[in-house]
């Protein structure tokens, strides 16, 4: 691995609350090259918060500190709002969970994808249209001309998520954070969307952070996996080594995964140890 795309050292995200400070992300450290990194954890383990912190998009109440938080050698903690606007969409981007909520209902597909071109590539109307049609083709939409002028409510979930991917990748960022990109979709189209995403990420040699609670999916699509629990990264290992994980939480998660090969009357439950949070 050469020069890392993203360096995170001792990232902390805290929210003030009535009963004191909530530490949503604690002491998270990892680096990311042009590879596919999975982040797995249960609801509330801080994976989405961490993803949003990397894009500088947490609510004002949140406090983000880190020893190092840099993107391609650039200190993200020192970024002004204007710097962020140039980074987001152009250098790093994010595919969100549910296209039903993450696409603007009153604007057409073409307007929404084209806007990214206009913001970052200085496209005029015609150039934006050309690029958008090409991008729609790249995410394997059969009739780009037609879809270009549709509104989000006229799209199916799988189509919507492909439009979302097109919108976030059209300015060719180097880093994509995919925050549970398939959990709102039908099982039948999940694989299709993942394949398209994977294909584009590989072809362009991008870094990918895949946030999910689906251990099987992450281990088959990613090179490396981070396991988060209670706001901290409890384990980091290669995807294929998940079976030999050391941390008891990871082992419990792997043990709880249903399998087609082994018939089991009852799946294992994760028995939590307060020690893990200490």
């Amino acid at each position: 691995m050469t020069d890392p795309l993203l360096t995170v050292d001792n990232l902390e995200v805290t929210f003030p609350g009535r009963t004191g400070v909530t530490r949503a992300v604690r002491n998270a450290s990892f680096t990311l090259g042009r590879e596919r990194l999975g982040v797995v954890g249960e609801s509330g383990s801080g994976k989405t918060t961490m993803g949003r912190a990397l894009l500088g998009l947490l609510p004002h109440s949140a406090t983000v500190t880190a020893k190092t938080l840099s993107y391609a050698g650039r200190d993200l903690l020192a970024c002004s709002e204007r710097d962020w606007q140039q980074l987001r969409g152009r250098r790093m981007s994010m595919v969100m969970q549910d296209p039903k909520y993450s696409l603007n209902p009153v604007r057409t597909v073409g307007q929404q994808i084209g806007e990214t071109c206009r913001l970052h590539l200085g496209s005029d109307r015609r150039d934006a249209r050309r690029r958008t049609l090409a991008m729609l083709e790249a995410v394997q939409i059969r009739d780009p001309e037609l879809v270009h002028d549709l509104h989000p409510h006229q799209l199916s979930g799988g189509m919507g998520q492909r439009v979302m991917i097109a919108m976030m990748l059209i300015a060719e960022p180097d880093l994509l954070i995919a925050d549970e990109p398939t959990s709102a979709l039908d099982v039948t189209v999940q694989n299709e969307v993942l394949r398209i995403l994977d294909d584009l990420v590989r072809k362009r040699g991008m870094g990918l952070i895949m946030i999910s609670h689906n251990l099987t999916m992450v281990s088959s699509f990613c090179d490396r996996v981070l396991i988060m629990y209670g706001g901290r990264i409890v384990e980091e290992c290669a995807a294929r080594d998940l079976g030999n994980a050391r941390h008891p939480y990871t082992r419990a998660l792997v043990a709880a995964t249903p399998s087609l090969d082994v018939r089991r009357a009852e799946l294992a439950t994760v028995v939590r140890d307060p020690e893990w949070l200490a």
Partner: protein, 358 residues
């Protein structure tokens, strides 16, 4: 409605024959809605007016008339007919533009309405423009800065607009800006010596004087209009800002606003280009209702500013049992509401693609 791209915006929709059919069907529906609403409105107002304990004959002939004169007027008014028949006669007259004579002004009610409505229209329109131009941005700003000082300032100013009585604000406004500072003109629509110079075409002095190119009168009309319009506008502003704020707060928490920022939009870019277009439908409803209620005539404001508008006209007619004038005014107000609602309906479809094509 289509749900997937495969059959979305089907080609048959775009065939010209279909399109003309659709337009025809919609126009017909529009006219039908209008007619039904209108019949309902006139029926209710007519029967209520006949059920009230006012003798329409006495209003015409006065209480010192002889029995013969009374009977003659009774027949002339068609009061010997059964009530449904009277309603039909009334409807027939309405269709031909005959609203009857006003007892109070001894002029046809239609002539009166055509004189007073433009005055109200002028005032209400300027007031609504002020309310929208100030209220909408204020509401958006308050929502975007929720819980911080711009929000608090806008809320306090809005609350003040809500709670202070308009006649008090009008009198204080006249005292300060007309009496003390002399920045604006006083009551009425024009200075006395400008009256009757401009030919009445629309009855809206701003438009009439602009047509003739008489900018002196135009300026004078504005200086008369600005204070009452600002005060009325302040009230609609307070309401519009408050509603805009709550609609925007709702939208700003949506995921697509975050998505817009991830694309590289600035915060305000996401607010105006993405969240704002999504509040257009409820916002149009609020603005439409506020505009319609101003078009009804603002009696208090019109009284304080001696503004010869619809509110004042209907109120006077009511006090004098001038039933033709009351009925005519009510029908006009109803027509205004129907029109505003229909225009809102059309605008909804313009702004929200989900409401188009069924």
């Amino acid at each position: 409605m289509s749900t997937t791209a495969g059959d979305a915006g089907t080609a048959s929709d775009r065939r010209p024959g279909r399109l003309i059919g659709t337009i025809l069907r919609r126009t017909l529906g529009f006219v039908l809605t209008l007619a039904v609403t209108f019949i309902g409105l006139t029926a209710v107002t007519f029967f209520i007016s006949r059920l009230t304990n006012i003798d329409p004959v006495l209003a015409v002939v006065g209480d010192k008339a002889t029995q013969a004169a009374y009977d003659q007027a009774f027949l002339a008014l068609g009061l010997d007919q059964p009530l449904p028949m009277q309603y039909l006669i009334y409807l027939k007259r309405l269709v031909t533009g005959d609203f009857g004579m006003s007892v109070l002004t001894s002029r046809p009610v239609l002539t009166d309405l055509m004189r007073v409505f433009p005055a109200t229209f002028e005032l209400a329109t300027i007031a609504t423009i002020i309310g929208v131009l100030v209220g909408v941005p204020a509401g958006v700003l308050a929502a975007a800065r929720k819980g911080r000082w711009p929000d608090h300032v806008i809320r306090v100013v809005g609350l003040f607009g809500y709670s202070v009585p308009v006649f008090w604000l009008g009198l204080v406004g006249l005292f300060v800006f007309y009496g003390k500072l002399g920045w604006v003109s006083g009551t009425g629509r024009l200075d006395v010596f400008f009256n009757g110079i401009v030919t009445t075409r629309t009855g809206v002095i701003l438009i009439d004087s602009a047509i003739e190119g008489n900018w002196e009168i135009f300026g004078n009309a504005i200086s008369h209009l600005i204070l009452p319009a600002s005060i009325l506008g302040y009230f609609s502003l307070a309401y519009i800002a408050r509603m805009t704020r709550s609609f925007m707060i709702d939208q700003l928490s949506q995921e697509y606003v975050t998505a817009a920022r991830i694309k590289g939009n600035s915060y305000w870019g996401a607010v105006w280009r993405h969240a704002f277009p999504n509040i257009m439908v409820p916002l149009i409803t609020v603005i439409g209702l506020s505009y319609a209620s101003l078009l009804e005539g603002a009696v208090l404001t019109e009284t304080v500013f001696a503004w010869p508008g619809l509110g004042l006209y209907i109120t006077r007619a009511l006090f004098n049992s001038d039933m033709n004038a009351v009925l005519g005014g009510t029908v006009l107000v109803g027509a205004v509401f129907i029109t505003v609602n229909l225009v809102s309906d059309l605008l909804y479809k313009l702004f929200d693609p989900r409401l188009r094509s069924t």
